[in-house]
Symmetry: C2
Subunit: 178 residues, 2 copies
DNA sequence: ATTGTTCCTTACGTGAACGTCAGCTTAGCA
DNA sequence: TGCTAAGCTGACGTTCACGTAAGGAACAAT
């Protein structure tokens, strides 16, 4: 496939990038309430997010992922659905906005804080503290929105330019046909 | 400035990235019709496009820029406004779509062909040939549009997600305030 | 207990996209 | 004609974002 082909396909997504674990995830739920907070290992997370274990470890290395605070060195990393979500978010923002991982780690300060905030929101009864946390959240999201909307505007302008070009070419073709 | 700051500013553009040529472009038009097809050298092009001479040479090296077909080796490269436009286009697509330069060179086949097409369109009187050229142009633009619109859709979805999140946080804040 | 698969850490390798330095030539000007 | 700023051609260095390989430990199943 050509490079442009890849670029065009890039919008589709949802492919099967590599087969790491051959037999799929255990279909029969052996343990009760298994789906809610299943503990996953790195290979599964990688497969679910369309990345590789190496990538996940790298993201941990540079501080994008926590990588199991309480994990004993030398033992397996274990992840929950929350980490999967985060990796998905990382990939999405990275591809869509073309940000470097350093920029992302700053932007994702929002997400990092969100987990913390959710925990603390449920833990505290102090309305003042809750207010503070929510305001922080709002600020982070606003940051992301600013970035995304800026990109949207630029892309819209590009689209307009291209449409205009296409229109002109069509006009000339009609002239020619007439 | 923080990385996120840069990312947020990235939408603004139009900064002065570096001062290469101290005294600006000769303000007095010595030669007549100077602005139409001024011949520029690499430093000026770099300054105008917010890049560096090295970058321009690199783009030439990998085939993204022609770099003066008729240029004698060892002599200075010279550029016209067309090259400046092309570099601008490259930078724009690269940043906005996050494409690799190889992908870009495929996508920009359109632009490459356009110059050719414009020349040939004026050179030939054969309507059949003209039709063919215009159809080619149309195809290339359509390719670009597909790519851009795909991105636009993805970004719009992201924006919607973020807005939804922001809405929820605001709701909780109102609850709290009430 | 053995075995096969997945994972661990460490460390070196890689491709893209330039940056940077050296040594020399060209172009504009005084 | 001489000077200086800008450009030229190698060629090596660098950062990012991982890939890959080696040697060993951990888990699941038998």
């Amino acid at each position: 496939m050509t490079a442009i082909g890849e670029a065009l396909q890039q919008a589709g997504g949802a492919d099967t990038p590599h087969a790491d674990t051959p037999h799929a995830d255990t279909p029969h739920a052996d343990t009760p309430h298994a789906d809610a907070e299943r503990v996953m290992r790195i290979g599964e997370v990688a497969a679910l997010t369309g990345t590789t274990p190496r990538t996940i470890r790298y993201y941990e290395e540079i501080g994008l992922l926590s990588g199991g605070d309480t994990r004993v060195l030398g033992k397996h990393r274990c992840y929950s659905q929350a980490e999967v979500d985060r990796v998905h978010e990382i990939v999405r923002l990275k591809e869509l906005l073309g940000l470097s991982l350093e920029q992302l780690s700053q932007l994702l300060e929002a997400e990092t804080a969100r987990a913390e905030i959710r925990r603390e929101l449920h833990a505290t009864d102090d309305p003042g503290r809750q207010r503070e946390l929510l305001l922080q959240s709002e600020g982070h999201i606003a940051n992301q929105l600013t970035l995304v909307r800026g990109r949207l505007a630029e892309l819209a302008k590009l689209e307009a330019d291209l449409s205009e070009r296409a229109r002109r070419v069509r006009l000339r073709l009609e002239e020619l046909g007439a």
